[in-house]
């Protein structure tokens, strides 16, 4: 039995037709219904459908079907996504293991943190990626979606955390030290991962004619680095990644995820990133608070659709009213962003997010995410 036999079809003419129009509306200035909600739902979708976190990652087709199916329950974005934060590292030699309560994690660094240790490290070419594990995984996944959930298909290529994934190759602590003591080697590590990711986007867009790009600055945030390093290792590399992916036919959609604390480093991204007609920018935290929508709007509304942040901690707290109030605040501050607004969480909504809290976000979007002149 295929996973598709486990799920009824979405309500295509009712819910999906309306949600699809709503999803497109901020990008084409054709406002419809209300501001959309994207809690960045991953394994939480599997949990809602009675499966486990491990199932979500170990069985990608099942996982993505859960995402596509459950979006209807909370009236979320009508598109599917499935990912974890370490694409392409297996091709670079790492081993990932599946866990019951976590996304796949590496068994440990594979290179000695010395110049000699990474001497033979080179980007993986497209032809070799086609024979690896990440590209076949995503080809199979999107082929499944094309066949079973075609109304939700958006082929996505992930650069994801360019710095964090590179750091895993020698160990995160060693990498952070290298940014101070051996910056040339730190750059070589990140550049190798970036070029490999670009080749991956090339392979994805070859097959599907386009590839949305998701790329973030996760390890490169103000809890770890000063603004200068976030710019050097995060923002500039992200800009290069998208520029090169575009030259190879990927895009035009981009999702920038500035994860964690970007208290002051949010300022280094505007002039370093590539902004396409279909770009969403999302920032997690400013210090310890969820990033203010007003500030997000001020900094980025000229170049992108802004995605506001409701703290993920609230999503596992049995207090839907608190989620509703924070969502309201987020919406009131961000809803008049020039190029549209989406209500989101500070990061992926936790696997055990309380359903009542997701409903609270959607309820707030219905109540306060209206379009008009405020």
């Amino acid at each position: 039995m295929g996973y598709e036999e486990l799920f009824p079809t979405n309500d295509l003419n009712g819910w999906h037709a309306n949600a699809a129009k709503r999803f497109a509306s901020p990008f084409v200035d054709n406002y419809h219904d209300r501001i959309d909600v994207d809690p960045i739902m991953l394994s939480n979708a599997a949990v809602h459908c009675g499966f486990t976190i491990r199932d979500f990652y170990e069985k990608p087709e099942l996982g993505i079907h859960c995402v596509g199916y459950i979006a209807e329950l909370f009236d979320l974005l009508p598109v599917t996504h499935w990912f974890f934060s370490l694409p392409w590292v297996r091709e670079l030699g790492m081993t990932l293991v599946y866990k019951d309560t976590l996304p796949p994690i590496p068994t440990g660094p594979i290179y000695e943190p010395t110049a000699e240790g990474i001497e033979n490290l080179k980007p993986i070419e497209k032809e070799d990626l086609l024979k690896g594990s990440t590209i076949p995984l995503f080809y199979n996944l999107y082929d499944y979606v094309q066949k079973n959930l075609p109304h939700t298909l958006v082929p996505i290529s992930y650069g994801f955390d360019l710095v964090g994934a590179s750091a895993e190759l020698i160990g995160v602590e060693n990498f952070i030290m290298w940014t101070f003591t051996e910056p040339d080697l730190a750059h070589k590590l990140v550049d190798t991962f970036v070029e490999t990711s670009i080749n991956g986007a090339d392979a994805l867009s070859d097959k599907y004619g386009m590839a949305m790009l998701i790329v973030g600055s996760v390890l490169a945030n103000n809890d770890i680095f000063a603004d200068e390093q976030v710019e050097e290792y995060g923002a500039k590399k992200m800009g290069h990644y998208v520029d090169q992916c575009f030259r190879k036919g990927a895009g035009p959609q981009i999702f920038y995820h500035l994860c964690g604390n970007h208290e002051t480093s949010y300022k280094v991204f505007r002039n370093n990133l590539v902004w396409s007609p279909f770009t969403v920018i999302h920032v997690g935290y400013k210090g310890r608070i969820d990033f203010p929508s007003e500030l997000l709007k001020q900094e980025f509304q000229d170049v992108a659709t802004c995605m506001g942040s409701v703290d993920t901690k609230l999503m596992i707290n049995p207090n839907p009213k608190a989620v509703y109030e924070r969502s309201k605040e987020c919406l009131l501050d961000g809803r008049d962003a020039k190029k549209g607004f989406i209500l989101g969480n500070t990061c992926e909504t936790p696997p055990y997010t309380i359903p009542g809290n997701l409903l609270a976000m959607t309820r707030a979007a219905r109540d306060f995410g209206t379009y008009g002149t405020w």
Binding site: V28, N30, R247, V274, S276, P277, V303, K339
Partner: protein, 146 residues
């Protein structure tokens, strides 16, 4: 002026429905309204609803068109100006920078990565963008605005 077309330019012109005569006119009438980088030039002209570009090189009246391309999105204001792109604008000899420019299509205004010359306010889009991201974006606008 002898103008010949590369195979790549011919192929893209066929895909986009661009005529050789139109590309020749863009080159012949460009004057200083073009950018250059070494021996390479890019000139553009709005023809109907399209912004059409000729990417060409050569001298002494022998011109080779390396690329001919277009986009439906209308060029509006410069949004961001970045670092030097290596190109220069013939009209004022100022450096052309990497940047972002607003584009308008079907009533929606969105920005895209471009080459910009801030003093004149002029912007150009390169072939990889026009044939890739911008073409896909036009399709999405047409589909989603319908």
């Amino acid at each position: 002026m002898a103008i010949t077309f590369s195979d790549a330019a011919k192929k893209n012109m066929e895909v986009k429905g661009l005529k050789e005569d139109d590309i020749k006119k863009i080159i012949e009438s460009a004057g200083t309204d073009r950018i250059f980088n070494g021996e390479r030039f890019i000139a553009k002209k709005v023809i109907g609803d399209l912004t059409v570009y000729a990417d060409y090189s050569g001298k002494d009246g022998n011109i080779t068109v390396n690329g001919a391309y277009c986009h439906k999105l209308s060029i509006r204001d410069i949004v961001l100006t970045g670092e030097d792109s290596g190109w220069k604008y013939c009209k004022n000899n100022k450096p052309v920078m990497k940047g972002h420019t607003d584009l308008e299509y079907m009533g929606a205004v969105r920005s895209g990565p471009s080459l910009v010359e801030p003093e004149s306010g002029e912007s150009w889009f390169e072939e990889y963008l026009a044939n890739g991201a911008l073409t896909t974006a036009e399709g999405l606008f047409e589909q989603k605005r319908a």
